[in-house]
Symmetry: C2
Subunit: 295 residues, 2 copies
Amino acid sequence: MPFLESLRGYQSRVETALAHWLPAADIQPDHLHQAMRYAVLGDGKRIRPVLVYASGEAFGVDLAVLDGPACAVEMIHAYSLIHDDLPVMDDDDLRRGKPTVHKAFDEATAILVGDALQSLAYQLLSGNQEVVNGKTQLQMLNVLSEAAGAAGMVGGQSLDNEAIGHDLTLSELETMHSLKTGALIRSSVVLGGMSHAQASESQLGALTQYASHIGLAFQIQDDILDETSDTETLGKPQGSDRQQNKPTYVSLLGLDQARDKATELADQAIASLSGFPGSADRLRELAFYVVERIH
Amino acid sequence: MPFLESLRGYQSRVETALAHWLPAADIQPDHLHQAMRYAVLGDGKRIRPVLVYASGEAFGVDLAVLDGPACAVEMIHAYSLIHDDLPVMDDDDLRRGKPTVHKAFDEATAILVGDALQSLAYQLLSGNQEVVNGKTQLQMLNVLSEAAGAAGMVGGQSLDNEAIGHDLTLSELETMHSLKTGALIRSSVVLGGMSHAQASESQLGALTQYASHIGLAFQIQDDILDETSDTETLGKPQGSDRQQNKPTYVSLLGLDQARDKATELADQAIASLSGFPGSADRLRELAFYVVERIH
């Protein structure tokens, strides 16, 4: 199957699964449920669920087994966007081409929607699903919750908040992104691999390597698009990092060097998969997609 | 051991465990970690962990096995207080006798601290601990995450937000509290019971009954204290519910009837435990404590 077709397949699959697992809009507390569905469903690149599916498929795992982890990582991602967009954080009004949750509803609702989505991610992953075995499922929960918390995504967001208006070195910027976006991207790839009972430690290590590279490449491409794209294509305000005086790869390296670094990272990501068979081709294609995407 | 002595024992035990599991204040991201420790450690009734310990002890479970679930429920509770206290929610400046997290730090930090504590609760409960078995541990995670989310605590908070300035019937008020505070209290008692591998469905059902009664009694006593106590004793602003025009048991029933109902619920809670041996005496004593406490 051509890459873009399988990408659309993953995206459409996770959309259906998310719609199924999110609480129904017409049952109490309906206001909260409506806001949860508004926040998660619709447009979205779904990079993290796509990585879960592609990584699982590298081991021949059935897609039905991967729906749970795929939805869980997307719910964690969606909640983090909602909280990051709040006025006391990044204060963004536009996300995925529509008003952010606190604009469409209100700030209190946005906080609660984020909180409920985080719970739902773990509820999903701990529920009775088609999974490898109880012990591995527990380990998957441990991987996801660690990646989401103070040692991962939330820790990175905290460093990001403190960085506003300060000069960061390239190494400090990388540390911040390695936590803020990198941790959840790494865990997405690892969760896909863990869904295969026989995945070895060294295979999971290679996947983590792969994911570290594309996580950073993804962030660099984000910074490039923030400079070079437009608000309509991005679905969020163009130039907002510069406006908030946030350090980016482009501000530190310049546009050309940033592009070179992103391509180099995609190559390194693919090299990490040298021990994997052709079934990992989706992951290889994704590495290119991450640095070639236009939104 | 006299009841108050064992209560202090549980409280001191969970404080030590929390201090151990919260990330250290001197490692990066240190600002976030300091705020997490500020939010959780120190004064606190620790009712939910106490219920985990007392419920586990009713089955003779070793206290070391109960530390994980005890800390997990307290972290979920602590995160909910931090988010509830935010200006766009209840806008409270005082909690447990000290400035709320967004006053002592800032609002962005308070949001992130809450988010990180929620992750940490699941990380803890999915980690390698002394537990009954993998399957039960997964079920415990499922119970806790459901109780914390849209079908439980967060759902109740959402109903509470919508109730401000509206007239609620007694039944609507009960539904709201059964979710907002009741769900986590029920899950605390159930998690304690589940920590015993041989706990039967009917025993867990009886524990849920018990917990439903004391959860409601706890809330009624909260409403009574909000009317009759003072800010210093409470450690949070006295009269804040009335000030915010929130419906309470006292506003709906009057003080005397509210007191009668709380006592009646404590009696019903104890009646739910009729099939349990003397090892459940801590739970029985707790039912009285909940309605007799002065803060």
